[in-house]
Amino acid sequence: MIRKTVTNVTDALAGVQDGMTFMLGGFGLCGIPENAISELVRLGVKDITCISNNAGVDDFGLGLLLHQHQIKKMVSSYVGENDEFERQMLSGELEVELTPQGTLAEKCRAAQAGFPAFFTPAGYGTEVAEGKEVREFDGKMYILEEAFKADFAFVKAWKGDAAGNLIFKGTARNFNPCMCGAATITVAEVEELVPEGELDPNQIHIPGIFVQRIFQGKDYEKRIEQRTVRQK
């Protein structure tokens, strides 16, 4: 077995530098790599580009990096649940590239799977299509979207083992599997790092080949953005 385990988040993020492009899993605050984000804040890396579906809230998730003015550019499908984000975007401090959600996922998956680009109908006829190649297939119009290129992918899984195999839980899965292997180095943090042989190979969502480093995460807050309940 090829061992991917590192002892802590500091070792896991070794090599992170100013100006790099990072992918971060999660949808809203669900399934975000909390430990990696905290470490990026501690390291204080600047001028980074973050590829992430959302940009966190004011005091959690990627909002923490925004507060430290560490992010130069966000590539996301939906943002702005975050006052600081809005302020930086309107003042021109922060560059934002809005990308349709399915296109965002596929640009990750394409990078993971070795496709340089793909055609999608999403955004045809809109400003998203500006400057992009358009082609017709079977009477329908598509635009050419290119795979992402990133230095690190930070993902969060429920369970993982030393081989880097991952299992996700519920809708915390979201963009995380798509980002594994889509960057030069994929760092997985897990709620539970189990002994080798404990994960059933039939149940693994992401094989360890897509992961370079894995570590046991800690102190997960797992904040809920919109707590909605019904009466018994």
């Binding site: 949808f27 499908s77 975007m89 399915g102 996922a105 955004g123 045809y124 809708t171 909605t228």
Partner: protein, 217 residues
């Protein structure tokens, strides 16, 4: 005239047995409350669940189980979870039978604008562009006019587009309309609403044939 729940109730009548349905945020979310219980339907949320159930009972919220509006939800028996690329494969690959979403504007040729108001904070398109570009069966749920009283059913959208020529049906507080080659074909009117009211509230070409029946809601 219908309220938001009334619009949702009318749209629920369009949901058929065996449908996989994607519900957008806002009025569309309410549709789930009114689907007949003698048919089998599964709701998809694009963040990665099929078989989405109601909100959890207080105390049973799970941070790892939310919908695309980031609300805590539950999973029904037979539900499944999947990643975002798989989720949009379901959408782009036309495996989802019906998409219901809100809009700021719809034009008479079926263009839709629902993601950006120039000069105001832009939050993003989320999954809306993928949904409207791919789905074959799209119903728009919206109020007929905006807060300023201006029509949202236009000759041409004035706002940046989300998709072109994709809307097939619209259910508003005033009417049910179908988008045809010649414009908005009036199918039904809301209780207490006249054809004249609908004409006055529709900027785009409105086609009125014969008697227009009142909605059964």
């Amino acid at each position: 005239m219908l309220d938001k729940n009334g619009i949702a109730k009318r749209i629920a009548q369009e949901v058929e047995d065996g449908y996989y349905v994607n519900l957008g945020i806002g009025i569309p979310t309410l549709v789930a409350n009114y689907v007949r219980d003698d048919i089998s339907v599964e709701f998809q949320s694009e963040n990665g669940i099929l078989g989405m159930g109601p909100f959890p009972i207080e105390g049973e919220e799970d941070a790892d189980l939310i919908n695309a509006g980031k609300q805590t939800i539950t999973a029904l028996p037979g539900a499944s979870y999947f990643d975002s690329a798989t989720s949009f494969a379901m959408i782009r690959g036309k495996h989802v039978d019906l998409t219901i979403l809100g809009a700021m504007e719809v034009s008479e040729n079926g263009d839709i604008a629902n993601w950006k108001i120039p000069g105001k904070m832009v939050k993003g398109m989320g999954g809306a562009m993928d949904l409207v570009a791919s789905a074959e069966n799209i119903i728009v749920a919206m109020m007929h006019t905006n807060r300023a009283g201006e029509s949202k059913l236009l000759k041409r959208c004035s706002l940046p587009l989300t998709g072109v020529g994709c809307v097939k049906k619209i259910v508003t507080n005033l009417a049910v309309l179908e988008v045809t080659e010649d414009g908005f074909l009036l199918l039904e009117r809301a209780p207490g609403v006249t054809v004249e009211d609908i004409k006055a509230a529709t900027e785009g070409n409105l086609i009125v044939k014969e008697d227009i029946l009142e909605m059964n809601v």
